[in-house]
């Protein structure tokens, strides 16, 4: 439904208790009462088919503001549901019964801000581990004093893992945080009675660097560095989302050459990240030649990126208002040609993998995620599209000129490991297709527009290689960042990871982990 219908429905159903204002073609803001909030959000999510992007909590001078961000396709646009309450109020209703995707958002807010969500059955021990920090440490509050918090630390000595499986002889197998060869640090608690994993509980935030807190009080230029570097394997995508948020606040219109080059570089990054994900999958199944081949492709693309931009991970190219420096056309065409060659080799790899039955045996029907679960958990990116949950921000809420390019959004129905692998290959093909169109549409011009920093708040979004990323930025009167909220795609995907793992043997676990292409640094910030 479109924005006008939305407004009508909302104001009709919750007459007097919810007001909806909309800015045509862009955003609807719904102010509602606390009691109405769960039902309203449930309607948006389950009945009217909007997706949940994130929950942003801001501590104002006198009030809390909770912002629940939903989005649909072009017609429905963005829907922000807002709740205000005085700072003394610490209890809020939980909407988790209706929108299960908000589960981890509310847990994070409880840990970092100290707000309690009534009705949420599992708050606590999330970002701030109970066996490292005591309760009532609220680092995201404005008045937080880090020195005192560190001095007065009292970890819980009697911490025990939560046991879900109640079967005689069940035990909790710990994996990590240091495990395997070269992996990120994440802790798993696998409940089992012997051979099968009955329940998996990941314990994340071992890498929590408090990026959102560090950003407060810095200038937008400095925070761009944080945005690029907190999850560097998809640095350009996150940096782009941040830049778009700030450019929206400041009303800057980015020159068209910069827009097209941004698209080109974003797709190059997507191609490279997908090659890396394919390499991980081949490595986990121990298919050595395919692993080496995919490794060659990833290194090729890293070198292409490095040669084109000076940095293999595309650091230092983005700037507020465009790009920091221009890229010569000839270099771009060379990079495109090399990418096309790499893509041809990737296609050949896919053909070979398609007929390797021992490889497929380990992926087919392993780690399946049903559509309904994917929807309820709000999964994003290629893994959601493998479960037939198609919502690509490049299509649904096009940005940076994507609406002018022709491309398909591939999807599969099985939702198992093999479907996810096929999506990766298909998206790689589409990326190159977009890159070709981008260079064809490239015109000369400047690549940077000066940005006049002013106060305001806006959401920037991007379809990162792992799924939709949402950056909410608020700049205060002094021209400094007062709130920076990052919702990374891995946050939602880690949430839904346990759906795939349950009921499979220990040996399948690393394979399912690799097919999900999860990033711990993205989730942990």
């Amino acid at each position: 439904m479109n924005q006008a219908e939305l407004k009508r429905e909302i104001e009709h159903r919750w007459h007097g208790r919810a007001q909806c204002e909309y800015y045509p073609g862009y955003l609807s803001e719904v102010q509602c009462e606390r009691a109405v909030l769960p039902e309203l959000c449930g309607k948006l999510f389950l009945e009217w088919g909007l997706s949940f992007a994130g929950l942003v909590v801001e501590e104002g001078q006198t009030d809390w503001q909770l912002r629940y961000i939903f989005y649909g396709d072009r017609e429905a646009g963005w829907v922000h549901v807002l709740i205000q309450a005085p700072l003394s109020e610490k209890k809020f209703p939980s909407i988790v019964k209706f929108v299960h995707a908000v589960d981890w958002h509310e847990r994070e807010v409880e840990d970092l801000f100290g707000l309690h969500f009534e009705g949420h059955p599992r708050l606590g021990d999330f970002v701030l581990h109970d066996d490292a920090w005591q309760e009532n440490v609220e680092p995201m509050r404005k008045g937080f004093d880090a020195k005192i918090a560190m001095q007065q630390r009292k970890p819980d000595e009697d911490w025990r893992p939560r046991r879900i499986v109640q079967e005689p002889g069940a035990f909790v197998m710990p994996i990590g945080p240091k495990f395997s060869g070269v992996t990120e640090c994440v802790h798993f608690l696998l409940e089992s009675v012997g051979e099968d994993v009955i329940r998996s509980t990941p314990r994340l935030f071992y890498k929590w660097r408090a990026v959102e807190k560090s950003a407060e009080g810095k200038s937008p230029d400095e925070v761009l560095l944080l945005a690029e570097r907190f999850a560097a394997t998809t640095a350009f995508a996150h940096g782009l989302a941040y830049c778009q948020a700030v450019e929206k606040i400041c009303g800057t219109s980015v020159p068209s050459r910069a827009k097209v080059l941004r698209v080109f570089l974003a797709e190059l990054e997507r191609l490279r990240q997908h090659a890396g994900a394919i390499q991980e999958i081949c490595e986990s199944t121990a298919l050595v030649v395919a692993n080496s081949q995919a490794g060659i492709f990833e290194e090729d693309l890293l070198r292409i990126s490095g040669e084109l931009t000076g940095h293999r991970y595309l650091f230092g190219l983005l700037a507020l208002g465009g790009l920091q420096c221009d890229l010569p056309d000839a270099a771009c065409h060379k990079a495109l040609k090399q990418s096309e060659q790499t893509l041809a080799q990737l296609n050949q790899l896919e053909e070979r993998l398609r007929v390797s039955s021992s490889f497929l045996d380990r992926l087919e029907e392993v780690g399946s995620v049903a559509w309904r679960n994917a929807m309820v958990y709000g999964l994003l990116g290629p893994i959601a599209r493998a479960s037939d949950l198609v919502r690509d921000l490049r299509r649904a809420q096009a940005y940076s000129g994507y609406e002018t390019f022709q491309f398909d959004v591939p999807s599969e129905k099985e939702g198992d490991g093999y479907a996810r692998l096929r999506i990766l290959f298909a998206e790689a093909r589409q990326s190159v297709r977009i890159m070709q169109q981008a260079l064809a549409a490239l015109q000369s011009g400047s690549v940077r527009e000066a940005v006049k920093v002013q106060a305001g708040a806006a959401l920037g979004w991007v379809e990162a290689p792992r799924g939709g990323a949402f950056h909410w930025v608020r700049i205060n009167e002094g021209g400094k960042i007062s709130r920076y909220r990052i919702v990374a795609p891995s946050f939602a995907n880690w949430h839904g990871f346990h759906l795939a793992v349950e009921k499979f043997a220990f040996q399948d676990f690393p394979i399912m982990l690799s097919t999900f292409d999860l990033s711990v640094s993205e989730n942990d910030r």
Binding site: D103, P121, R122, H129, V165, P174, G176, F179, G194
Partner: protein
């Protein structure tokens, strides 16, 4: 209890040694029973072997029982228990030296009842111990009845009630009679021994029996059933066709397999050991069966080997099973629980107990240089020797059973690795406030006595085998000692009857090393083949033991004095993946360890799901996953339950005639009288 019991055991041992080594066997008639028979006592070498084993087991068991009773100051219960135990000792002794059918059965009945009384006298707070005791009694009576039928049939057919008479008369029995008697005695005594399909009382009874009694139950009374089988089918009535032997072989293998499967997947220390007893009894029975087939097939040497092996295993089993039950009892009293999922790390607090228990575990798993290795190895070698038989079908059955026994040996290793590791090693899983200390010497001394005996039986098989052999030669018709422990080692080399090629092979094996230094007969047990292949296999656990000691010392010396001279020896934190604290619930449980066996043999276990619920809150928050599976033992399912159902049905029908009214019963009496009169008149007339 302790001292008197030890004294009794010493008497038993003396009697046995007297008969076995000095040849003082006797047949002593006692009282004549008019119309029936003369009650006779007869002690021959076979009984002496069993008496010796029993004596070796009862000696430490008495000490242990004494210390158990002292631990619990229920004086009343203690006195009753002591009296009953001594009665049991007496009845066991009597069974072994019974020389005729009637005294045998009398002693057997007394033993049965005493066993039942000992179990239910415990009056501890365990549920169901009265039921288990009752089941033991019921099954025991059923078995006694069937065995008695067998005996009576034998006695009637051979027209004698004493064993010597029966043996003389049994030669003329024909095959169907023999088969009937075999079946009756095999399954009748099999109840007491613990063979499939009549052993479903065993795990329950062992679980319910008090700690002081269970070792005797496993180490002494189990042997009675095997004694009965052996006496009837190998001594009184030697086999002339292969049928009975094959049945024994197959049933033995099945018991062994089922027993070890259930032992591996059970977490209760006592119940698991009970299932393991079933397994060992199965191996012994398979050995008996093999021996009977060889006797029937006219291979007396092989038969002798088979019988010797089976008896050796019987002796070994008594020793190490008693030891393990001591250990289980100690664990239960000191740690408060028998559930292996909740034990762990006890070696830190009970190192001596752990050492003794380790000896028992290594023995039962069949690892050199302990005794289990010798008897398991000999059993498998015997199965292999079936290649010398003529009939293909018999050879096939032997091959399958041999494979089955090899499988049980492998599973036994798994099972007992699990037992020792989950109870004594790893992290402690008990509650914090449970104090665990080393038990008093009253419990430790018996453990160490048996541990030493296990080692001795393992490294000196060359002394054990001839003793057993002297008892079994009359049964098999030939001596096995020649084949297993050649007199080459005898101090008198003139007794050398072996071919030169054989001697040469022998020299090449280095088997003569140390003959002048080491006392007594040599240290090698070898399995001798035919003309073509003089030495089939040679093995020396004594050498192994010595080599093991030497290697360990050498390793220690090398490491300590040379390798670590210039480098430091460091103790570092345990690597656990970097978790902040490794908790007991993060360690492998006994269930987890044995889960692969459970999964692979799912077709045998066929568990039914009792509960499989998933609790959720708010539709997606899983709060609990509860799963519970129930297993019904196949024997229970196929034998016990149907019998139960049938018995109840019959009882139900019969109940129809019990109205409870006096008039009806008077009518029944009148009817019965009339019927008898009519029948009498009819017969009188005809």
């Amino acid at each position: 209890m302790g001292w008197l019991g030890c004294l009794a055991a010493i008497f038993l041992l003396l009697a046995a040694v007297n008969a076995l080594y000095f040849g003082n066997t006797f047949v002593q008639p006692l009282w004549a029973l008019r119309g029936l028979t003369t009650l006779t006592l007869s002690l021959d070498r076979l009984s002496a072997v069993f008496l010796m084993v029993t004596g070796l087991v009862l000696f430490p068991a008495s000490i242990y029982a004494g210390s158990e009773l002292n631990r619990q100051p229920h004086l009343q219960h203690g006195r009753v228990f002591t009296v009953l135990m001594f009665g049991l000792y007496a009845s066991i002794g009597l069974i072994f030296i019974a020389g005729d059918v009637v005294s045998f059965l009398l002693a057997w009945e007394v033993m049965s009842i005493l066993c039942y009384l000992l179990i239910v006298s415990a009056r501890e707070k365990q549920n169901g111990h009265a039921d288990s005791g009752y089941l033991l009694l019921a099954m025991g009576e059923a078995g006694t009845l069937v065995a008695a039928f067998g005996f009576l049939l034998l006695a009637v057919q051979t027209n004698a009630f004493d064993f010597t008479g029966i043996k003389a008369g049994a030669l003329i029995l024909d095959k169907p009679t023999r088969m009937t008697i075999f079946l009756l005695s095999f399954f009748g005594f099999g109840v007491k021994a613990g063979l499939v399909p009549v052993n479903f009382w065993l795990p329950r009874a062992y679980a319910a029996a008090p700690r002081a009694f269970v070792p005797v139950l496993a180490g002494a009374t189990l042997n009675l059933g095997l004694y009965g089988i052996l006496r009837v089918n190998a001594d009184l009535m030697p086999a002339i066709h292969a049928g009975p032997g094959l049945i024994a072989l197959v049933i033995g293998t099945l018991s062994a397999l089922l027993g070890i499967l259930y032992a591996t997947t059970d977490n209760d220390l006592k119940v698991m050991l009970a299932h393991s007893s079933i397994e060992n009894v199965g191996i012994i029975t398979a050995g008996f069966g093999a021996g009977m087939v060889f006797v029937a097939g006219n291979h007396p040497a092989l038969a002798s080997i088979a019988f010797v092996t089976a008896l050796y295993h019987l002796a070994n089993h008594s020793l190490y099973k008693t030891l393990l039950f001591f250990g289980a009892g100690v664990v239960e009293t000191q740690a408060g629980t028998r559930d292996m999922d909740r034990l762990g790390g006890l070696i830190k607090w009970m190192p001596l107990t752990a050492l003794g228990f380790l000896a028992g575990t290594l023995s039962i798993a069949g690892l050199p240089p302990f005794n289990g290795f010798v008897s398991e190895w000999l059993t498998l070698q015997t199965m292999l020797r079936s290649a010398e038989l003529s009939e293909t079908s018999i050879k096939l059955i032997f091959a399958l059973c041999g494979a089955g026994l090899a499988l049980t040996a492998a599973l036994a290793v798994t099972c007992f690795v699990k037992v020792f590791a989950m109870s004594f090693l790893g992290m402690r899983r008990l509650e914090e406030n449970q104090k665990v200390v080393e038990p008093k010497s009253g419990a430790l001394v018996p453990i160490f006595i048996l541990a030493v005996l296990c080692l001795v039986f393992g490294i000196l098989p060359t002394y054990i085998i001839p003793s057993l052999d002297s008892a079994l030669t009359p049964l098999a018709g030939a001596s096995a000692a020649e084949n297993l422990v050649p007199p080459f080692f005898a101090s008198n080399p003139d007794h050398n009857t072996l071919p030169p090629a054989f001697l040469q092979d022998f020299h090449n094996l280095g088997a003569q090393v140390g003959q002048s230094i080491l006392p007594g007969r040599g240290l090698v047990v070898l399995h001798r083949g035919g003309e073509q292949n003089p030495v089939v296999f040679a093995m020396s656990t004594s050498y192994m033991f010595v080599t093991l000691i030497v290697l360990l010392l050498l390793t220690y010396v090398i490491v300590r004095l040379w390798l670590t001279r210039r480098r430091m020896l460091e103790r570092r934190v345990r690597w656990d993946g970097g978790v902040r604290k490794l908790l007991p619930e993060m360690t492998y449980t006994a269930t987890g360890f044995s889960n692969p066996v459970r999964v692979i043999f799912d077709a045998v276990f066929r568990p039914t799901t009792v509960e499989d619920t998933r609790e959720t809150v708010a539709e997606h928050f899983r709060t609990a996953i509860r799963r519970e599976k129930e297993r019904v033992h196949p024997v229970d399912k196929l034998v016990f339950r149907p019998v139960q159902v049938a018995a109840l049905w019959i009882a139900g029908r019969l109940a129809a005639i019990h109205h409870g009214r006096f008039n009806i019963y008077a009518t029944y009496a009148l009817l019965a009288l009339l019927t008898v009169l009519v029948v009498f008149l009819l017969f009188q007339a005809s």
